[in-house]
Amino acid sequence: MNPELSGILVSFAITLLIGIPLGKYLAKMFAGEKVWTDFMKPIENGIYKLSGISPNQPMDWKQFLKAMMVINSLWLVYGFFVLMYQDKLPLNPDGNPGMTPDLAFNTIISFVANCNLQHYSGETGATYLIQHFIFMFLQFTSAATGIACAVAVFKALRDKTTADVGNFWVYFVKSITRLLLPLSVVVALILTFNGTPASYAGKDKFISLQGDTVNVSRGPAAQFIAIKHLGTNGGGWFGANSAHPLENPNYVTNITEVVAQMIVPMAMILAFGYFIRRKKLGWVIFGVMAVGMFMLMIPTISSELGGNPAIAKMGVSQATGAMEGKEVRIGPMATAYWSTLTTIVSTGSVNGMHDSTMPLTGLWQLLGMMINSFFGGCGVGILNYLIYLIIAVFISGLMVGRTPEFMGHKVEAREVKIAALITLLSPFLILAGTAISSYVFNNYGNANWAVKPSSWLNNPGYHGFSEMLYENTSANANNGSGFEGLGDNNIFWNVITGLEILIGRFLPIIGPVAIAGLLAKKKFVPESAGTLKIDTVTFGIMTFAVIMVLNALSYFPALALGPIAEYFSMLK
């Protein structure tokens, strides 16, 4: 078999082999049952004690969300100031400067929100102190925040009637000690022994074979890259992210990183089924998501392998596929595979530049982020999917003329209103953001910002529009990848995407937790012959249709102006 094809098949097989048992483990671990990692208990108890937390205290959904919001707000404020004054703090061997206030605003929101949209460049924009004490710290804690909130929803939906959704601190700490940290150690070691630097040494300098003087950025990157993927964060140590040969030195590390970013989102879906004791529902959701994933992945791979038609006309050989923005050691197929996964699970790390991919590839990347729940980010993927589930339950209920029920509780106006608002939020942020950016680009080309609007775009025409659409979509989806040609380090983009990330992160977390909390307090209605069964293939198809219809209606016009128009313009 073609070694590139077998490469991605092996990647996917390893993902399943780890993801499925991990899902069972997570369900047991969060339910407090006996698991083999219980040896971590003394460490966790130590953490609770030092932090003044009583782990056995129950929380209702409001207390739970309050704890989550307080600690996240703390990180926002503290991180903002540290970023601005990073040049005056230690661990800055390369002498990098402090961030401007708008860049610090964008960057700290981006890392707190698990987005990692990076408007700075790793080599010159952040010191080692920032990379570890702010960025890497938040890569752990933002992923743990998402997972903790998902587990609260699991608990609310499992218990028949309860006000208690579980203790935020406990879910949060256990996500780190029982999941993210141990896996990070494993991944970081694999990376280190394959050539990713892990020492604190600063820049190196040497004279190359043909006589050029070369400065080489290095640093303790392996530790960072491990959690960047496991926590679906995606922020790179170096500017070029995982396309950088030190960040992703060979095919083994490429498989490791692409597997690492997929296993937790995948495991969380199955954990949901096992946790609420409806295994079949977990598998139905898993099936819907997998179908969605392949629907985006297969055309992506085919469009990249086909190469660039404009370059084909020049007569050179594109034997392996389109090569602009790609690395030889990884190849177009593994790059296309990665680009689908990184956009559906909201990692946003890249091993090749998305801006240079084919128009239709860009379309599938955008759609993956717009849907944002084919597996989705750590914890938040299942929360996003829950919103679609509620809408599907509601529509099905209307179709048969009954009060919709979900997990033994009546779904009433309040829950449906929350779900509808969250559904409308993404199109509003993405489309309004893109409209404002296009307006500013057209009418205020000479505004005196760090990058003038007239020179924002790296590409003319439809592709330029796609660059703006992609940036807004990536911010709302908390993805963090970009069509990086966009000149985004200026006050306009820093502020607008900062706000989009913030709203696009926290409302879609608060909404589902509130819905689950409200449902759990209601009287339990046992299943009867008239109950809509949600763990069936039919209902899975129904949910899939709801996802597709909602997203097609919301985004088709914008997609038609960008990637679709570019595709047809290249057919000539």
């Binding site: 070694p3 030092l50 932090s51 003044g52 703390l74 080599e123 004490f133 890497m136 710290f137 780190i176 940290l181 990070s184 150690v185 280190t192 022994f193 050539g195 630097p197 892990a198 020492s199 604190y200 190359s208 074979l209 043909q210 050029d212 070369v214 400065n215 080489v216 303790p220 530790q223 500017g239 070029a240 396309a243 950088h244 040969p245 060979n250 095919y251 490429n254 190469g307 370059i311 020049m314 050179v316 050989s317 034997a319 392996t320 389109a322 090569m323 602009e324 923005g325 030889v328 050691r329 190849g331 530049m353 801006d355 240079s356 991919t357 590409n459 439809y462 592709h463 570019e566 290249m570």
Partner: protein, 183 residues
């Protein structure tokens, strides 16, 4: 207020665990890897001439060339070109790269040229070229160095890595170091 104090204390405790203990342990383990956790270097005659995994600029006629780079192989500022596939300026640039290649390798047909030799990599630091990208340069390098073409071709073959999974590739720095050692 109580929640805020708990948050501050938890942040401090986790900072010690996640930002000091974890990275220092990995950094220590890295000392036992190739390059001691600071990146694997390659030396010629006892002098460090580069990093095994990072590409460097090769555009002189006596060497095998590396791929085009959007940042001129600046290893302290990696980036791709981010040019879109339909960008007319970009397509012109690719065309002129083809012309340059044909000028220095007059024996080539356009269809001999693999795309990786005329497109910029994602990082701007791609250490590799495709085997076809190396083979088309054999004749030029051999002629310039007044070496036997067979010998240079054999060297390329020796330096072609065929991993179990993933594409075949040639590390340009390793190939050129081997070339310099040939004399």
């Amino acid at each position: 207020m109580k929640t805020l104090i708990q948050s501050i204390r938890l942040t401090l405790v986790l900072t010690v665990l996640l930002c000091i203990i974890y990275p220092v342990v990995i950094s220590f383990a890295g000392k036992f890897s190739k390059g001691k956790g600071s990146g694997e270097t390659i030396a010629l005659n006892g002098k460090i001439v580069g990093y095994a995994n990072e590409g460097q600029k090769f555009d002189k006629p006596q060497y095998f060339w590396s791929r085009p780079s959007a940042v001129g192989y600046n290893a302290a500022g990696s980036a791709g070109s981010n040019k879109g596939p339909s960008n007319p300026d970009y397509l012109k640039e690719v065309n002129s790269r083809i012309d340059t290649l044909l000028k220095y390798h007059p024996y080539l047909k356009r269809s001999d040229i693999p795309a990786d030799m005329v497109t910029a990599s994602g990082s701007g630091l791609d250490p590799d070229i495709s085997p076809a990208g190396a083979q088309i340069q054999v004749k030029r390098v051999a002629q310039f160095r007044k070496l036997d073409e067979q010998k240079v071709a054999a060297l390329v073959k020796e330096n072609t890595e065929k991993p179990l999974f993933g594409p075949e590739k040639v590390n340009v720095l390793k190939l050129n170091v081997a070339l310099d050692e040939l004399k």
